[in-house]
Subunit: 152 residues, 2 copies
DNA sequence: CAAAATTAATCAGCATACTGATAATCAGTG
DNA sequence: CACTGATTATCAGTATGCTGATTAATTTTG
């Protein structure tokens, strides 16, 4: 009766809590002032170069209402610049500043370490199994959320 | 590089988004005005009877700072009562109201349906595999978060 | 038993996420 | 070219989650 160990919703919420805690456990010591979400936004910007907010949001599955605040805070810190697109005055083009690039480079190894730690407790083959199943679930459920992930 | 499909942190956050969306997809039509978190709190209260906030928080791994607001809203709706413990005046004893019991009974089948839907896309044996791995990761990482789950 | 440590709850502050609405702009059509 | 519809961004409002501080009450200890 109501056994949390068999309730996916509860376990998923719990896993997310732990993943975030593991992220901070690894990054706090390194003096990194980026949230997991902020890191993902910056890492994606580094990958794809200059894009508008909606495109960025689609690549990392952020809600359009959430992305504005995330970018606000990165602009505030001086890691990202936001300027009106010359070709579409509705859109805001984003790109990393030089400072942003440096911060990101410094954070990267620690964040990658954290990603490893998140699955601690699993054997190597189990990790692959788990990631495979995760991707399968997400592929099937992607369109359920208001902020689906969109391929470039 | 920076392939989201191999970043546990990103996938976990995404899975949580989808799980919540699936919950609402299933409960909205049934006119259920409970968040996933509120439902879990009430379901646990039904299971264990009268307990204080901290104990409840431990059972479902909520932060002590978060539980107050959750309970506030349930009290507001008339589903839960909160009274000062006669044996420890710091503590607030919680219990479901009759209305709360009815609401919970009405919500239960829909929420359980949603729990099934969350793993849609997986075969039966994969679901078990996934839940097994989930529990294993959580067991290993439980103490990482500020709000660990505590066995009764 | 009195002082110190601990505990339950709350609070202010910050950062996701979402709903639903609005403003500004652009694109397509007649 | 004017009009309709779509799109980008933002905003107000609500609900988790967390940090760190505070208050009140209880428990432990010297």
């Amino acid at each position: 009766m109501h056994d949390p160990a068999h309730m996916p919703g509860h376990l998923i919420r719990r896993l997310q809590q732990i993943a975030v805690a593991v992220y901070y456990a690894e990054t706090d010591n390194a003096g990194i002032d980026l949230t997991p979400v902020q890191y993902a936004a910056m890492a994606t910007l580094l990958d794809v170069g200059e894009i508008d907010q909606i495109t960025l949001a689609g690549l990392i599955a952020y809600d359009r209402s959430t992305i504005a605040g995330v970018i606000d805070r990165l602009v505030q810190k001086g890691y990202v610049e936001r300027q009106v697109s010359p070709t579409d005055r509705r859109a805001r083009i984003l790109h990393l500043t030089e400072t942003g690039r440096q911060i990101l480079a410094h954070a990267k190894p620690h964040v990658e370490k954290a990603q490893q730690n998140m699955l601690m407790g699993l054997e190597e083959n189990e990790k692959e199994q788990f990631l495979g199943l995760l991707n399968k679930i997400i592929a099937a459920g992607n369109d359920q959320s208001r902020a689906p992930m969109r391929k470039d």
